[in-house]
Symmetry: C2
Subunit: 230 residues, 2 copies
Amino acid sequence: MIQSPDNDKLKTIRKLAGRKWRDKTRSFVAEGEDLIAAAEAAGWPASMRLVAAGSGLDGEEVAPPLLATVSQMGSSTRALAVYPMRWAPEPAGPLCVALWGVGDPGNVGTVLRSALAFGAGSVALGPGSADPYGHKAVRASMGAIFRVSTGAFDDAPHPWIGLVPRGGTALAEAEFGERVTFVLGAEREGLPEDVASSCDLLASIPLDEGAESLNVAAAGAIALYERARR
Amino acid sequence: MIQSPDNDKLKTIRKLAGRKWRDKTRSFVAEGEDLIAAAEAAGWPASMRLVAAGSGLDGEEVAPPLLATVSQMGSSTRALAVYPMRWAPEPAGPLCVALWGVGDPGNVGTVLRSALAFGAGSVALGPGSADPYGHKAVRASMGAIFRVSTGAFDDAPHPWIGLVPRGGTALAEAEFGERVTFVLGAEREGLPEDVASSCDLLASIPLDEGAESLNVAAAGAIALYERARR
């Protein structure tokens, strides 16, 4: 049983709380039995698995108060595991969501979850987007991080439908087929001009007068729904 | 200029961080110039307004380090204000969203924002739902809290369309008109049986096999979009 705070495995978990170490080691942490079960169901093996001593769970035992010190959720976590990242060489189609400047990790995780729900093969991430392998994004994905691949923004397959708060073709009238990437931008700034001009079509979700915009994850869910509905 | 941490106004702000004091005084705090501007645009007057000394903003000046100590966002806040809550005697229709057991304040705020975007008159809140007047919900609402009224769950106008992860009529085929309340439940537990049986119709958003559910705010946005689209 691990009982020392200086244990190397605990040190690794602590360091993986930061994006720098995650990027360097190409690995990340998932906390809680639900997420670990999701990884298992997806056939994604853990490189390390730590559990609270006495929990009866499968993994190397750690004194519970010590496990709590390396957890992002404190003493409520009875198990955590480390996984290798899986960035796809190319974001998989035919359906993809690409995020530009989506800095909130909860939104990134929620988009992953919606992507899985509507059969998207991948989520592509551009500059300024939160790390999909960070704690909050992994939690918000509810395990979808293990089922939907992540890839680089520029490689997302065309045609691109850029979602903009206003001025685009009404989403319900926008023409797109099975194969499409929905491109979503930062909530305030929207899509930068060069990204917007790389889109094959700009679409907008018609909103009531006086409403400025939707949450980016809500807009993404609506776009995915609209395609699934057709 | 307020310079003492024992100042009564600062004490009030600190206490309003807790739901108990908000419920007791029927008032809440909004932080940041954007939210304060949203309240003003909605004609919702502040009962107190504090600003960082030297910011040039309108309100009673507070020594900046002191203002940071009562802020939920630390030193990035230059202004905060207290507002009276406005619970509607009855949730306003014809379009309403009712939440049951939605404990995450970010989700409650995002639903408020989507409600405004699609012209809902109110959001009704049942047991176990996060306080829409708490800091995180107010932030996530992006000011919609000042435009959409809040009301009690049971008073939401019928017909009720309950959104369930599976087993309901496909949302796109569900029959409803202008006047409708979308009822959304906790993400894990869904709607309790008695609430489900109070619904006039149960509807589901068809998901890919292997996907369990959508984030509740994403599901709400989709339902509101589906009605607007028709």
